[in-house]
Subunit: 200 residues, 2 copies
DNA sequence: GAAGCGATATGACAGCTGTCATGTGCGACA
DNA sequence: TGTCGCACATGACAGCTGTCATATCGCTTC
């Protein structure tokens, strides 16, 4: 019997996944959490074989949860189930040590199958994504990413400078580097491109 | 017996909803569609009492589907099930003539209950949203909305002018109006604010 | 018909943005 | 130790953006 836990903040999807798992005879649901911290607590309590989780959750993301499993040397393996099909997300997920990455777009039959494979120690990646796993490197530095996020929120160079303690000219310089690396025409387009790739 | 159809492009959620509906004894599933056009075809074929649908779908949105039901004078009623909790979305949905608007955040028990109420002719709105239904009017004109969307994508005034056939000065003027109406400091912030409200 | 109003349209001007040249300091590495 | 690369920093300049004054047109209201 494979012991599974669900961590998903959308109640409807969480309970629907519960219903789907309930249809399988060789998989047992041992808990369901609505946020990352509750998930961590329940994992320590039940020590499931596999945790189905979204990436974005209140409290703790699915990726942080995966990193935590590694740090605490648990055998519990993380299977990400998400809508985000951006290359950067998959890359970051794999680097966090997740055992699988499924898209919510995929057929539900893939879910139980993926749980079985992950429980057996295999690594599972949505076929739609497998080819783009190592597609393109994030060329942005931490500084560029941070300033790009502020620019995306609508702050002008002066406000970003104040926020970060940099000079206005320096802010423009970093944004110029980001714009140039991404092949964009301005900071707005640069932010959009970076977000599409999953780099923000 | 209430006859229900599901229109949802995420396969996993679609099949999970199917599983949830399957648990109810007084509700019967008569079809499931992965996009708006397929949904329309299946509605004409099966004439369900209620259609569960997301707003954003390939082919046709759930709101367009609702408007179509009204135009074709069908008795089929649309129940929106979505993640979008922005005020503007609910307002536009109600104006499109939907019979209900549920958040995926809500408990799954609310789903069957909502289906029953909608089938009985009632109107159902997620309690989290009810208070903000008429919270704030969209102050933007169609022209302003369109230009704001182009600006959000990273086009500069010149590119937007070319795209729309307007003069550069006119483009800046419309964006200025939008910025001013929204109390923003620049076009980026204006686009962000408008999107948060659900006006884009 | 005249006044009022909103949508459309344009140009002038100050300030902001993107680009580039240039410079400093720090750690890596042969 | 030198120099190489990289992050950090700044100023100059052309072009773009935000703001405002202004004007036309169609429609409503009296």
């Amino acid at each position: 019997m494979i012991r599974v836990m669900i961590a998903e903040d959308q109640a409807l999807l969480r309970e629907a996944l519960t219903a789907l798992i309930g249809l399988e005879t060789d998989i047992e649901l041992v808990g369901a959490a609505a946020d990352g911290e509750e998930a961590h607590r329940l994992i320590r309590q039940h020590e499931p074989d596999v945790v189905l989780t979204d990436i974005e959750m209140p409290g703790m993301t699915g990726l942080e949860l995966a990193a935590l499993m590694k740090r605490e040397q648990r055998k519990t393996r993380i299977l990400i189930v998400t809508t985000f099909d951006r290359p950067g997300y998959l890359r970051r997920a794999l680097e966090s040590g997740v055992a699988g990455y499924l898209l919510k777009d995929g057929p539900s039959t893939a879910l139980a199958e993926a749980v079985r494979k992950v429980a057996a120690g295999e690594r599972v990646i949505s076929p739609e994504l497998a080819h783009q796993a190592w597609s393109e490197d994030d060329p942005l530095s931490d500084r560029e990413r941070k300033l790009l996020r502020l620019a995306e929120a609508g702050l002008d160079s002066g406000a970003i400078a104040e926020e970060t303690g940099l000079a206005r000219g320096t802010v423009r310089n970093y944004l110029h580097a980001a714009i140039s690396k991404l092949g964009a025409g301005n900071r707005i387009e640069a932010a959009r491109l970076a977000r599409e790739k999953g780099w923000l």
